[in-house]
Symmetry: none
Subunit: 210 residues, 4 copies
DNA sequence: GATGAATGAGGATTCATTCAT
DNA sequence: AATGAATGAATCCTCATTCAT
């Protein structure tokens, strides 16, 4: 399960190409060429193209979906601070691993065919339950409204964030930001997303129904 | 630009398969077999696989992104009723054309290579501007808060709705609804989404900042 | 065996395309498009693509390889004048039917597969024997040398003339005549060829061996 | 640019089939079957059918159009001996590479579409200029007539020789030589062609105009 | 451990032809 | 008489994978 330098290089190259062109739209030749390695090495290291896909998921889910617990269990934060941290964390992860997130979005079916279904399911479930825990805590402490559908809130956060990534190109074009350097643009996006989701959650969690 | 019965059948079959398996993951053979037609007919009718993809977009965007104006311009509705109608309409369209929406989500790159880029851009822009119009109207009438980022609200609506569709399988499994018939499940989802987004928008648009 | 206007149009279009791109390199669609007729008409009129090829040969050989006898049997001409007429006639025919001649040159195998083998054989044989007749007449009258290989002379005439047509493009480029209008260029070529072959034949037929 | 054994085998097989059936009339399957190799190997080695055609030309022109200079520059030969050697050399090359010569004759257009145009042009030009050099030398030494159109003489040589190859089948049939073994037949043809062209050139180059 | 050569399977597309009208 | 729709066969090419080295 530990990948050497070359294997990691292959994984990351493949991830990028799969995200851009899809699993079937990317050939092993493409990956080998982009990564500067021999074509046969992919089958050699991973067994097959499918197994490489599995490796990507295993690699990312392991290194990506961890360490959320630390935030949740830090007692120095108020419930809403925890929510904020949670949002920040998700956004940071997503921007830091855009390719992988785009890949997950575009190849949902891939789960069914390969041995990653459970992995992904567990990661999502884990995420959801952490969020529930935070919000329930806030409710118990009387700081959040009672009748909040936590599942829907999480979907809103993830959906909005994901769509943000997906729709970047439209956004750029619509707002005449095509010339802005990618790094700056991402910074802008990220900040905007932070603010929006925090405001949204605050509004939902603390707004009194009339 | 008018497609006969057989052409529509091909378009809809291809749309489904492209949505499930991707453009490159779907062979012309697959489409022909599923649609019960001869393999050569696809090239015969559409010229190529790529042109078929273009036809799908042209077909759907034309028939899907219309008639939203009627809602917006109906003076019998209050601004918030218009927002509700807008949300309903988007959700209905999306559930009614799940395949196409999933296809758009998974193949964003396809726009760049083919002649659908502008089509999609215009549709999205049109959508966004209609939403802006409604909300600005509510603001002018003092019924909505002033400092609402309309763009972000739309992204939230679309992102949440899209994610809802994408994540169905996880949702089913997580909530032990795997046995529920698809039709009933969708009804359930749709209702839930209606409610959630309306509540969300109400909260955002009318909640007074403290 | 009599072709109507449309059939002739198809034949001539096909002849041109076959000459330029070869039999297999030309599709029925190409011919139909170029001739401005329906695709099905070719099979309808001629039965098949192969039969169309046969029709071209039948059509051209009939109308092309005739009337040579008149020259030969005209008693007002001296033997060498007859040779000159013969040369002129061949060159004129060839320039007037360049496409057909190029077609014959590039598709010699086609004879074996189709029913035109005998047709072509007879035409060639007829040509050769007419030439022999003229030259033998000149020899009998003591005006031509005795030991002339008539077959080789004919091959020289035909080969040179054919090569002239084939190598036009090289000739143009080599002599900086790329800008010259095709009509003028052909006139130039034809004149040159007349003169060359006549001189050649005169030299061969009348030159006394030392 | 150096081809291994298998590549050469493919090139020579393809050359033969292209010469007989044309570029478009020959399928990759045909070539693979005749050469006893896997179909995919052709694309593997050459990239495409077109590139294979280019390879044939590159291969032949390189190995075929060389070493003529040696003859020309050999000072032991008289000008007419050089002409004879030149003729012999051309005929030998042509009979030794009949397929390639037939291929060049039947696919002149192929030059325009592919990267061999210049290659062929240079080879032809080179050939022509060597011939000119020889004849001009003879003229300078007063052994050849002054007013000889060297270009036309070369065309005569090449055209006659080429036509000889093209028309073999007719010749055989006409002269009842269908039963003669090919090797013996070729020997006969070659000898005949030697003699004819040498006589022809002698007559033209040395015959005094009256 | 690492790789270049080789291949069978399957990809999209074009083809000449047929048939109902 | 003439044609648009439709199709099975064949086209070239790319694919992921294997194997001897």
């Amino acid at each position: 399960m530990d990948y050497n330098e070359k294997q990691v290089q292959i994984i990351e190259t493949a991830e990028k190409l799969f995200a851009n062109n899809g699993f079937e739209g990317t050939s092993i030749r493409d990956i080998a060429q982009e990564a500067g390695i021999n074509i046969a090495m992919i089958s050699y290291y991973f067994g097959s193209k499918e197994k490489l896909m599995e490796a990507i998921f295993a690699y990312r889910i392991k290194t990506t979906f961890l360490k959320m617990e630390n935030i949740i269990n830090n007692d120095n934060y108020t419930p809403f601070q925890k929510v904020e941290k949670f949002i920040e964390h998700y956004i940071d992860k997503m921007f830091g691993n855009q390719c992988f997130y785009r890949l997950m979005m575009r190849e949902p079916y891939i789960q069914e065919f390969h041995n990653i279904s459970d992995l992904v399911y567990e990661a999502k479930k884990n995420n959801l339950e952490l969020a529930k825990k935070v919000i329930h805590e806030g409710q118990k402490r009387g700081e959040f409204r009672k009748n909040v559908d936590v599942g829907m809130m999480i979907m809103t956060m993830i959906g909005t964030a994901n769509h943000f990534v997906t729709t970047q190109e439209f956004y750029k074009r619509y707002n005449n930001m095509l010339e802005m350097p990618q790094v700056e643009f991402e910074k802008h996006m990220r900040k905007k997303l932070y603010h929006h989701l925090k405001t949204l959650f605050k509004s939902i969690l603390t707004h009194e129904e009339k």
